[in-house]
């Protein structure tokens, strides 16, 4: 029994490492991204194996799915801008400076030493050392939800999670700030099969995303995974040009970005007072408050991730210089 499992583990671990190396060394950037996506899928499998389905969900949806789409979009943009959109020929699109082989080997040796040190430290650390297990078990009844990871994210360490949503907000503001009304590569013709696919899939994705959010209070799932799945809808809409962001939608988008952060912080503040501190949800309302926050945060995450994929702020008619408009 253990031997078969160990063999599986070793093979999976080996594949993960091999994919990591391959995605950095393969010459074609498109292949590198494909390899990276596979790497992400297999890491998520490994995390499932380590009984961390929540993390696996988040990694598969956000770390691999959305990240992969972002990387591809950027690659596409680079090829478009440099006018080398042909297949397979656009290599080394953005050379920084040629690094001498000596430097690379020196760096590799340096990192090898670091790895060795870390591995030794890891082997020296207690196997399954002390943790939060007992504290969490003790606090669970007062948390308002039944799933420990959700309780940690939305109650025990809600402050971390609020700041994580703030990071997402900062990212979307920065991205809107960075890209100013760039021209986009032209739309593809996807044909009828695509239409059928969209009609079948989009509603299903919405249902699955909502289900994940709902399920989060008692089983793996929750705001981030649900939000990422819903963001996939946005991605598909944007990719297929069914929805094209327009300047008029900017105001609404801004509200959608801040909705989660605002609601989260607002609830945290509003529950304080009367002897309670911020984030201390009254026990009888904890469940509904957490669900409310999760729902709004999910909307924000979905819209924000889709906006991060789209990239630029939709600005009015392209000004010649692309500056000082809006």
């Amino acid at each position: 029994m253990t031997d078969a499992a160990t063999l599986f583990d070793l093979l999976l671990a080996g594949s993960v490492i091999a994919l990591a190396i391959a995605s950095l060394t393969v010459r074609d950037m498109f292949a590198a991204i494909v390899l990276f996506v596979i790497f992400g899928l297999l890491s998520a499998l490994a995390w499932v194996r380590l009984s961390a389905p929540d993390v696996a969900l988040a990694e598969a949806a956000i770390g691999t799915g959305v990240t992969g789409a972002l990387l591809l979009k950027t690659l596409h943009h680079l090829r478009y801008v440099t006018g080398k959109l042909g297949e397979g020929q656009a290599r080394d699109l953005t050379p920084i400076a040629t690094v001498p082989a000596g430097v690379i080997w020196a760096n590799a040796a340096f990192c090898g030493m670091i790895t060795l040190g870390l591995a030794l430290a890891f082997l020296g650390a207690p196997q399954a050392g002390p943790g939060f297990d007992s504290l969490v078990a003790e606090a669970m009844p007062a948390s308002g939800v039944d799933h420990p990871v959700t309780a940690v994210l939305l109650n025990f360490r809600a402050y971390d999670t609020l700041m994580e949503v703030v990071v997402l907000l900062a990212a979307v503001i920065a991205v809107w700030q960075i890209e100013r009304g760039l021209s986009d590569a032209p739309a593809p013709a996807l044909g009828e099969v695509w239409q059928g696919f969209a009609r079948l899939t989009l509603p299903a994705i919405v249902v699955v995303g909502t289900y994940l959010l709902w399920k989060g209070s008692e089983a793996p799932g929750g705001a981030f995974q649900g939000g990422a799945v819903l963001a996939a809808v946005g991605l598909l809409l944007l990719l297929s040009r069914i929805y094209v962001p327009r300047p008029a939608h900017r105001g609404l988008a801004r509200w959608a970005f801040v909705l989660g952060t605002g609601a989260f912080a607002g609830v945290a503040l509003l529950v304080s007072g009367g002897g309670r501190v911020a984030f201390e949800y009254p026990a009888q309302h904890a469940y509904s408050l957490i669900l409310l926050i999760e729902g709004l945060v999910t909307i924000s995450i979905a819209v924000t991730l889709a906006a991060l994929f789209h990239g630029r702020e939709p600005v009015a008619a392209p000004a010649p210089e692309g500056r000082n408009d809006t």
Binding site: G86, L190, G191, V193, W194, G196, F197, T201, A204
Partner: protein
């Protein structure tokens, strides 16, 4: 009786795995893009269907069966669409390059 179900389930799962392996072999050995695509979309769709069936046989609740069916449905739709899109893409590239597959 449970033994029989377990046995059937195991057999189905094994058959599914065989299809996966066949698909991979096709991907590696077949001569050009379209052949590979053909082998792949058939093999992995069937492979997953068999494995899903095998797992569903030993499921403990209806919810599980439903989710397994959902998974199979998603993969089938994605596989069909994906196959079509990849084929269109490959054809367009072929046209752009003049002729020549592989």
């Amino acid at each position: 009786m449970p033994d029989l179900i377990t046995f059937i389930s195991a057999a189905l799962i094994a058959a599914g795995a065989v299809f996966f392996i066949a698909g991979t072999v096709g991907l590696l050995r077949f001569p050009d893009t379209y052949c590979r695509l053909h082998a792949l979309t058939k093999a992995d769709g069937l492979g997953l269907a068999l494995i899903a069936l095998g797992i569903a046989l030993t499921a403990s609740s209806f919810g599980e069966v439903f989710r397994i069916a959902l998974i199979w449905f998603f993969v089938a739709v994605a596989s069909a669409t994906g196959g079509h899109l990849i084929a269109t893409h490959a054809r367009r590239v072929d046209r752009a390059e003049g002729k020549e597959g592989s």
